[in-house]
Structure formats: C-alpha cells, structure tokens
C-alpha cells in the first residue's frame, strides 16, 4: 500500500458522560474507552441509546454532563467539523453519503480539509482498500447498493487518515455474507492498521467475533462490559443477545 490508510490511533474515552436531546438525557453516566489497534464494540437493543452515544462523541448531539477526550484533546461539545479536524472519522447509521454527488465527489468532500494536491493520492489509497469503488467513481452515491454505499461512507472518512473511527451499525440492511466481510475484512482491518475503532453493532455474535472489548448498553446506561470470551460465558448476556429465550429484536440478526 502506497500511503498509510489511517494515522496511529489515539485513545478515545468518556468520563461520566450524559447526553440527549432538548436537555433531556438519553444516555447517562457513560464511562468507556477505546484504544489504538483495538475494536471496541457497543451492543444493545433498539432504542438503548447507541446512536445517541456516538453522536454525542462527534459533536452532533449535545453532551450534558461529563467529558470526551481523544488523545490529549478534550473534545466535549466541539463542533462536528472540529472533531473531524482532530482526527475522528464518523460514519452515521443513516444518511451516511451525499446521494446527489458522485462517488469521486463524496471522497473529495471527505478530503475537504486536505490541500488540493493531497487529494488524488488519498483517493488512490482509499481505492486500494476498497477496490470495488474503482469502477464506480462517476456514479451518483444515491445509486449504489447498500454494501457499496457503506464502503463509500467508510472511504469518505478514511480520506482524512483518521486516528479514531466511530462506526454506527455499518452492517445494517446488508446481507449476512456482505456484513461478515465488511466487519472481518474492513472494520477489523482498520484496527490492524493501528487505528482506534469504536463500533456499534446489532449483530452481537458478529460484533463479538471481531471485538477486543464490548460494552452492553441498556436503557441509556452501560449494563455490562467485558472481553468477548467472558461475555460469551455470561448467562445474562447469552440469553439476551446470543439467541437465548429473551425476546429482543437484536437477537434476530445473524
């Protein structure tokens, strides 16, 4: 690979964080940490506040209490564009591309903070990682398939060689095969490049397989945390997330 894909990761951590909409907290008392070279995942049922948590890290949702830091930087309530500048790449759960713009233009916007001369080289580096995108550079992002679109969404954040990747359900709406490939090849790949990866996933089994550490969110709080192999031994976790008897929608995937 000609250029490095991501920068050396930085530690992303929160301390007693609470966040929500219109001053009402949806998530509260969240203390988590993601470290370089590791995939840290957050799982939990629908509506438990996973997306809200991620949004509060990247400046989209207001932090009401507590702190967020990346490396040496405190990023609590920084504007989204400043969070991007510090090296945090965020792929939202929905609205993750610019549909009317071509694939190439989406990547160019991803590299908005780079100088004009740097952009072609970065696009090449991203295309080396997602070769499938090479053949569709002039296609409108709105016309891509679900899997292609997610690759583009990730490619867009890779344009700035982020130190930290924050990914919100990258496998939502993807066929199981594509989802597995996306997680095992690409998401795990980012961490293996030395980047810090914070991943929200509905597919608990698949998430555990590529994670180094997992937080379980329930009702806006961290209710369980541990290494995947320990969680797999935890009866409570197995019952609610890995296809036990508890009726939770999050078990239906995989």
């Amino acid at each position: 690979m000609s250029v490095e894909l991501t920068k050396q990761g930085l530690v992303l951590s929160t301390n007693g964080l609470s966040a929500g909409y219109d001053g009402r907290p949806i998530v509260s008392d969240i203390t988590i940490e993601a470290t370089p070279g590791k995939v840290v995942s957050v799982v939990g049922p629908n509506g438990s506040g996973k997306s809200t948590l991620l949004k509060s890290l990247v400046g989209v949702v207001k932090v009401l209490e507590g702190h967020v830091t990346v490396g040496e930087h405190e990023i609590t309530n920084l504007a989204p564009e400043e969070v991007a500048m510090i090296g945090v790449g965020y792929v939202p759960q929905i609205d993750d591309v610019f549909p009317p713009l071509s694939v190439k233009e989406n990547l160019e916007i991803g590299g908005y903070l780079l100088s004009r001369r740097e952009i072609p080289g970065r696009i090449d580096a991203v295309l080396d990682f997602f070769p499938k995108l090479k053949t569709m550079m002039t296609r409108k992002a709105g016309k891509l398939s679900g899997g292609e679109r997610k690759m583009l969404a990730m490619g867009r954040v890779l344009m700035l060689s982020p130190s930290v990747l924050v990914l919100d359900e990258p496998t939502a709406n993807l066929a199981p095969m594509v989802a597995t490939q996306l997680l095992e090849e690409f998401v795990r790949g980012f961490a293996d490049f030395g980047s810090t990866v914070l991943l929200v996933e509905q597919r608990a089994k698949a998430a555990l397989r590529i994670s180094d550490w997992t937080y379980v969110l329930g009702g806006g709080k961290v209710v369980l945390a541990g290494a995947p192999k320990d969680l797999e031994q935890n009866p409570l976790f197995v019952e609610s997330f890995l296809g036990g008897s508890a009726p939770s929608r999050s078990t239906s995937n995989e």
């Binding site: 969070v83 591309v97 610019f98 549909p99 009317p100 916007i109």
Partner: protein
C-alpha cells in the same frame, strides 16, 4: 407564424433574465433551506442602485450594473446574517421563514417606493442596432443580456462542478450534518452562497430593468411567481433544473402573451406551478432533492 416567432424571441430574452434570477433563488433554497420570497425586492432595489449610478453618477449602465450586483450580494448576505439565520436558529416551523421573507419583501418594495416615489424610471442606455434573423427581432441590448446569461450560467456550472466551494455547497445542500462531520464549515459555505446568489439577484434585477425599459419600485413584485414556477419545473433545489425551468417558463409565458393577453403571464406561470406541485412535485426530471 410571425406572432409565434416574435413571441419566441421575446421568450428567449425573458428566459435569460429569469434563468439568472431563478438560479440564485434556487441556490438559496437548496443550500440554506430558505425560500427567500424577498428575492424580488432585493432585485428591484439593486436595479435602483444601478439606476442611481447610471443616472445621477453618470456612469455607463453596464459599469453601473457592477454596483447593482454588489448591492444584491451585500443585501442578501446581510438579510441572511441578521434576519434568516437568527430565525432559523430558534428551530421554529419552516413556514415562519416564509412569512418573515414575505414581510421583508413588502418592506423592501414599499420602503423603496417611499424613497423614490411612485413614478417610472429608465436607464440612460441605447438599445443599440436592431438585428433580426429567422423572423425574430433583437436589440443589441437584448443580445448582450442573453450573452451575459450564457456566461453566468456557465460560471455557475463551473463553480458547482469543479470548485471546492461548489462541491461543498452541493454537499451542504444534500446532507449538512454529514458535511460538517467531513470538516466542512457549513456556516461559511452558507455565507458564500448568499453572497454569490445575492450577486445573481442584483444582476437579475438590473438586466430585468434594462429589458423592461421602464420600471418602478413594484415592477418585480410578481416576478416571484415566475421564479417559483421555473424552480418547481426544474425540480426544487437543482441549479440545472432551474436553468431549464426558466427557459421553459420564459418562452411559455411570452408565447401566451403573444397570443392572448400579456397580463396573463403570471397566471400562466401559476397554472404551471400548480400543475407541477400536483403531478410532479420533484420537477420534470428530479426524483427527490437532486443537484
């Protein structure tokens, strides 16, 4: 046949003026989500700055036009900065902005009328030689206006397609949150949009007044109907759609004026607008918000 051709000639010039106006109007809506119903009053105020520079400061009308363009840009920027943005920040219903814009439009139009009075004005400018081909008549002035239109639309195309700012404008229009997450300072992009679209507004006002010949403070009051029709015909939010919509509406209204009564221009445009809203709310070509 000759009514058809002469009306078509008129239509092409009206279309050129309307295209310049509608592209600016559409950019404001697409990038900043403001349906700026005060656009017409900024146009006519800019036209009067051109008039002042032309008539009282004795500048050539084309030179004076620069003042009109400048006025449109600055006035639109200030309007966004001190009126629309503060209202948008409060997260009110979208209709609020429309009502505010309507109020600004009335203040702009009748404020101007209070200053200059109710009489008619025209630029000190010759129409130039008359040129005719294929049964259509054009004055040199009209040909220059069409030339300006082609150049301006070409520049806008270049801006949107090939420049960093233009791509950021389209990205902000498509998904402002994601644009910010990508490092785009959308507030600056929005300010630039108001400056550029405001310049188009000032230019449109001046060429509108030149093309009309005589004008007063209320001359552009109904122009908003033509712009809305052209915008919805091309698909709201699409600059290219606006260009095509403007040509269609410009030609259609002048043809109808040639055959029926010129007074019905806005009515025709309004019928087209209603038809579009009913049957093709995303425009003739658009599926949703397209760029």
């Amino acid at each position: 046949m000759s009514v058809f051709l002469s009306s078509l000639g008129f239509g092409l010039i009206s279309a050129a003026v309307l295209a310049i106006a509608t592209v600016g109007f559409t950019m404001q809506f697409a990038v900043t989500n403001v349906l700026n119903l005060a656009y017409g009053s900024v146009m006519i105020n800019s036209a009067f700055v051109t008039y002042y520079l032309n008539y009282h400061a004795h500048l050539n009308a084309w030179v004076a036009m620069i003042g009109g363009v400048f006025t449109g840009a600055v006035a639109s920027y200030l309007l966004n900065r001190f009126v629309f943005t503060p209202f948008q920040r409060r997260n009110l219903l979208p209709i609020t902005i429309v009502i505010v814009a309507l109020g600004v439009d009335l203040c702009g139009t009748f404020g101007l009328q209070a200053i200059i009075g109710g009489s008619y004005f025209s630029y000190k400018q010759s129409l130039g030689r008359e040129i005719h081909f294929w049964g259509m008549y054009f004055s040199t002035l009209q040909l220059i206006i069409m030339g300006i239109c082609v150049v301006v639309l070409g520049l806008i195309h270049w801006l949107l397609k090939y420049t960093r700012l233009g791509k950021a404008m389209r990205a902000t229009s498509a998904n402002p949150n994601l644009a910010r997450n990508s490092g785009v300072r959308t507030q600056r992009v929005i300010s630039s949009t108001w400056l550029i679209s405001g310049a188009l507004c000032g230019l449109a006002g001046t060429v509108f007044a030149m093309n009309t010949g005589v004008f007063d403070a209320t001359s552009a009051q109904l122009y908003i109907v033509l712009m809305l029709a052209a915008m919805f015909l091309g698909g709201p939010g699409s600059a290219y759609g606006a260009m095509i919509g403007a040509v269609t509406i410009g030609v259609a209204t002048e043809l109808s004026a040639g055959y029926f009564n010129p007074q019905y221009k806005e009515v025709i445009a309004f019928v087209v607008l209603l038809g579009m809203l009913t049957f093709r709310p995303y425009g003739l070509f658009g599926s949703e918000k397209t760029n």
